[in-house]
């Protein structure tokens, strides 16, 4: 896309189909908030969009430092948007460090908006600049619009008598106001939002509104060097209906609530604070009226054990964490496998190993999910491709858990958890229920057989408190049918086989794998899972537009996989698997189907760009 944003020669402004804007500043500058509100304004303008919040692990990193930079990128437009965009068209840099860490990503010819008020000697030193880049010509390949946002903000909020520090905190609203002007956006919803946010402090509300209006007015009236034209990106053609923005963490929380309702069960959620999974617990604690009990446990292990205890007692047990926490839960997952109790385990993956990159995204816990336990302990794995898809995936995880009496792992990642996208609000009346039946009386004449399996290989769910059905379960191998302790060779063989057959059999309850773009067969299939959906979809779309024979397959059910997947993959000459790890799904595909799946890997903590995948497609077809 050739942007018209910063073209001084342009006689008339032709709006592009999509624009990528990155707001970058100090972690205390409110960039995530600015981005979030710009996102809302994009939604109200009817644009499609995808966002990428990228913030440091430190809560308040030292001001002005390179590692303290917090950024929020949004790709929005009048066309379908699947990713947060490869390279920004516009970079808003609130200080030298934000410029230094982000300018490299900016498109050639792109627009830099910089706050000169922050380009002080001290801040330049902190950002390791010897000379101000605004003055030494090093930004020549971009358009630079530098002016003193700090001073302009101070001026605009002067009537409210704020202290200097408080007044400067309105800078992000001033900047947002300018951005709203640039993209012809309505200020009214944001003014409403500010008034609501600062309802208890009228002065702060008024000051922020004044800053927003001043930024907007600056765009309207000031001479911006002829660089900036006001652009209007029209609404994307969208099916009629009710929409909202949603992040992956919220979608998981809502999906779990919906899943528990569809199973006719109260939900118990055991969690322990960990980035980036905590947001799910934050969302669920506010939904107690939906029969949700939340429990912040003393550690990750207690969180899953309490959830298993709740499942044993007849609720839908759920726990959630990120890689390091999931590792701690491993032994308890094995117990849930052995005792055949329903449980949903959400893993919001982040960069690893160990503490790794707490706030950055990765897909490197796939082996952990599929294989990461002692013993033969098969657990179904479902993965979400986008924030809104996480809603459906959470429901699917609940369904499998209760219908098959098994723990289920739901994989999302840091990108999905934090990113927002528009979501057409679904009508719950269209959801298919899967009500649970507890065993009420003995199931074999006068005898209770807690491990008697039904046609799917599933044992009954028996709640303590049910008269006459007292029995004991635990982690020691269970005798077929009776569930008594039984270490005998034939029994362990039979139960290992039965547990495997049960989980394998889940494939019969999941839809066949579809091809989301392209044909079921051909030269190249690009097979993805999880949050690589956006860049793969765009890259395959572009390659197909160039006439290349390439298709996009995106797998939701990682374990067990759809029954037709092996045959489907064999219909392509080549299979390329882009993933944000060193090739984990590729290995599973090779193992399961003996296909020559080739990896495209990335472990930088950043999502794939469309261009990276496009280049790999071209390479594979060359």
């Amino acid at each position: 896309m050739a942007t018209q944003l910063a073209d001084p020669e342009a006689k008339s402004t032709v709006a592009p189909e999509a624009v990528v804007v990155r707001f970058a500043g100090d972690s205390g500058d409110g960039m995530q908030l600015t981005g979030g509100q710009f996102t809302l304004s994009s939604a109200l303008a009817g644009n499609d969009f995808a966002t990428f919040p990228d913030f440091p692990a430190e809560i308040r990193a030292p001001q002005g430092t390179l590692f303290g930079v917090s950024a929020f990128q949004i790709n929005f437009g009048s066309t379908s948007i699947d990713t947060a965009g490869d390279a920004p068209d516009v970079l808003v840099a609130m200080n030298p460090a934000a410029l230094k860490t982000n300018v490299g990503a900016l498109k050639p010819g792109g627009l830099i908006i910089a706050d000169t008020g922050e380009f002080t000697k001290r801040n330049l030193e902190k950002a390791k600049y010897d000379v101000s880049p605004l003055e030494d010509g090093s930004l020549a390949k971009w358009q630079v619009l530098a002016f003193d946002i700090s001073a302009l903000t101070l001026e605009s909020v002067k009537p409210f008598g704020l202290g200097n520090k408080e007044a400067l905190r309105c800078k992000n609203m001033w900047t947002l106001g300018l951005a709203l002007w640039m993209f012809d956006r309505d200020r009214a919803p944001l003014i409403d939002w500010l008034n609501a946010k600062f309802a208890k402090n009228k002065v702060l509300a008024d000051a922020n509104v004044a800053a927003l209006n001043a930024g907007h007015a600056y765009g309207e009236t000031a001479e911006l060097g002829g660089h900036v034209k006001k652009l209007h990106l029209g609404p994307v053609p969208t099916p009629a209906g009710l929409y909202r923005t949603i992040t992956g963490a919220d979608a998981v929380a809502l999906g779990l609530v919906a899943g528990a309702q569809l199973a006719h069960l109260p939900m118990f959620f055991g969690g322990y604070p960990i980035t980036p999974a905590s947001s799910i617990l934050h969302a669920l604690v506010r939904l107690k009226e939906f029969g949700v009990t939340t429990f912040q446990a003393e550690d990750e292990i207690a969180a899953i054990c309490a959830a298993i205890g709740a499942s044993y007692a007849g609720q839908l047990g759920v726990t959630s964490s990120s890689g390091p926490g999931i590792a701690l839960k491993g032994e308890a997952m094995g117990l849930a496998v052995m005792t055949e109790l329903p449980l949903v385990i959400v893993n919001s993956q982040r960069g690893g190993p160990s503490t790794g990159l707490p706030t950055k995204t990765e897909q490197s816990d796939l082996y952990q999910a599929v294989y990461g336990r002692n013993g033969d302990a098969p657990i179904p794995v479902v993965s979400a491709r986008s924030p809104s898809d996480a809603f459906e995936c959470a429901i699917e995880a609940c369904r499998i858990a209760v219908q098959y009496m098994t723990p289920v792992i739901l994989l999302t990642d840091g990108y999905i958890a934090n990113a927002a996208e528009p979501w057409q609000v679904p009508d719950p009346a269209t959801f298919k229920e899967f009500p649970v039946t507890f065993l009420a009386e003995k199931n074999a004449g006068d005898t209770l057989l807690p491990y008697k399996r039904d046609g799917k290989g599933t044992r009954p769910w028996i709640k303590p408190g049910t008269p006459g059905l007292m029995h004991r379960i635990g982690g020691i191998e269970k005798a077929v049918d009776t569930g008594h302790l039984d270490y005998s060779p034939a029994n362990h063989q039979a139960q290992t086989d039965a547990r495997k057959a049960k989980v394998d059999g889940i494939a019969q309850s999941i839809p066949d794998q579809d091809v989301c773009l392209g044909a079921p067969g051909g030269k190249l299939a690009v097979v993805g899972w999880g949050s690589t959906y956006g860049p793969i979809h765009q890259a395959v779309g572009r390659a197909r537009a160039k006439g290349m024979d390439v298709s996009h397959i995106h797998v939701r059910h990682i374990w067990p996989m759809p029954q037709n997947l092996g045959e489907l993959l064999k219909g392509y000459d080549k299979v390329l698997v882009p993933e944000m790890n060193t090739g984990q799904f590729k290995t599973v595909l090779r193992d399961q189907f003996l296909v020559d799946a080739r990896p495209l890997t990335k472990t930088s903590g950043q999502p794939f760009t469309i261009a990276e995948i496009e280049a790999a497609i071209e390479g594979a077809l060359a």
Binding site: R244, E289, A297, C305
Partner: protein, 343 residues
């Protein structure tokens, strides 16, 4: 305990058809019998009772009690019990653990279940050894204990379960030992305490740590070495000839002789189970210079965790309609019509 309608059962009703697999002569047999004898007296309902355990010899306990039972993973029984009780507060939850399970690998969970005050009975079988893994020293083993991992004797100092429990915020602390005739009374007191009731039960591991408690548990001369505490009664032992008094200068306990039964003259303390200061001194009272403090050391109930969680949930949900459609459509929404988006 729970306020339930008492059920009539006998000891037999609490026995399972499973063969008990502890070593012959193990103290666990006596504890099992004491529990099975006590449950009918409590009017407990097998269908409403759950025994939850971790890993170790003691943790096989649930398999032998005809109720609901969950043999979980090493050290984590308190966490499972928490989930069970929060999911169904009507259940009577008993937690069975050992010195390795509850004080070592699961020390963290023991601390938090006590601090939160989950309504349950916690029976910690303390045999001062790892039995199921063949005799390694444990966190409660006395200094100098020789074992496969400490052939020259252990060097680290032992933990005191009751002192740990009190420090963690427990509101009920009791002690007994496997073959004691008083054990059922201790269990009953634990059951009647609403909240987390912590009971340390000294248990003789006849294979790996045989008779390690004989210094106070042996029948001969037991009166001189056991102080059975009773609320409102003076702290007397040795057939009433000795008692426990407060050394007001050192602010410690001391043993005093009681002449002609005049314990008041000797300054013997009257046990008050709600007195936390006395509890602190009793859990720390060293055996040797003092008798072993047994019975109910401390009993001062506070509101339970599950009651607080339920109350908070009800309050938060009051007047709110659990309407999924409305929940999904919450927040800042917009409607797309033929004419484009609008608020």
């Amino acid at each position: 305990m729970n306020a339930i309608t008492p059920i009539t059962t006998t000891l037999k009703d609490w026995e399972t058809d499973q063969e008990v697999r502890w070593c012959p002569g193990c103290g666990d047999y006596a504890i099992l019998k004491a529990v099975q004898r006590t449950l009918p007296e409590l009017g407990a309902d097998p269908a409403n009772t759950v025994f939850v355990s971790g890993i170790g010899c003691s943790s096989r306990f649930p398999y032998y009690v005809e109720s609901y039972g969950f043999h979980t993973i090493h050290g984590r029984a308190p966490a499972f019990a928490t989930g069970i009780k929060l999911a169904n507060p009507q259940l009577d939850v008993w937690l069975v653990t050992g010195d390795g399970d509850g004080m070592s690998i699961g020390g963290n969970h023991t601390m938090h279940v006590l601090r939160r005050n989950l309504d349950c009975q916690i029976l910690l079988f303390n045999n001062e050894i790892y039995g199921l893994t063949k005799g390694q020293y444990s966190p409660t083993s006395r200094q100098g204990t020789t074992s496969p991992t400490t052939p020259l004797g252990s060097v680290d100092r032992p933990a005191s379960p009751c002192a740990f429990a009190l420090g963690a915020g427990a509101r009920f602390i009791a002690r007994g030992f496997d073959v004691s005739k008083e054990l059922p009374n201790v269990l009953k007191a634990a059951y009647h305490h609403k909240g987390a009731a912590f009971v340390e039960i000294f248990q003789n591991c006849i294979v790996y740590n045989k008779d390690v408690f004989n210094d106070f548990a042996a029948p001969k001369g037991a009166e001189d070495r056991q102080l059975w505490l009773a609320n409102g009664e003076p702290m007397l032992f040795a057939k009433g000839t000795q008692g426990i008094a407060l050394d007001t200068e050192k602010l410690t306990l001391k043993v005093v002789d009681v002449i002609d039964g005049d314990w008041q003259a000797a300054g013997v303390i009257v046990h008050d189970v709600t007195n936390r200061s006395i509890a602190h001194m009793l859990v720390e009272m060293p055996f040797g210079p003092f008798p072993m403090a047994l019975g109910v050391l401390y009993d001062d109930p506070r509101p339970t965790f599950e009651a607080a969680v339920m109350a908070e949930r009800e309050k938060a949900a009051a007047g709110k309609e659990p309407n999924l459609a409305k929940l999904l459509a919450k927040g800042q929404t917009w409607t797309v019509t033929e004419g484009g988006p609008e608020l």
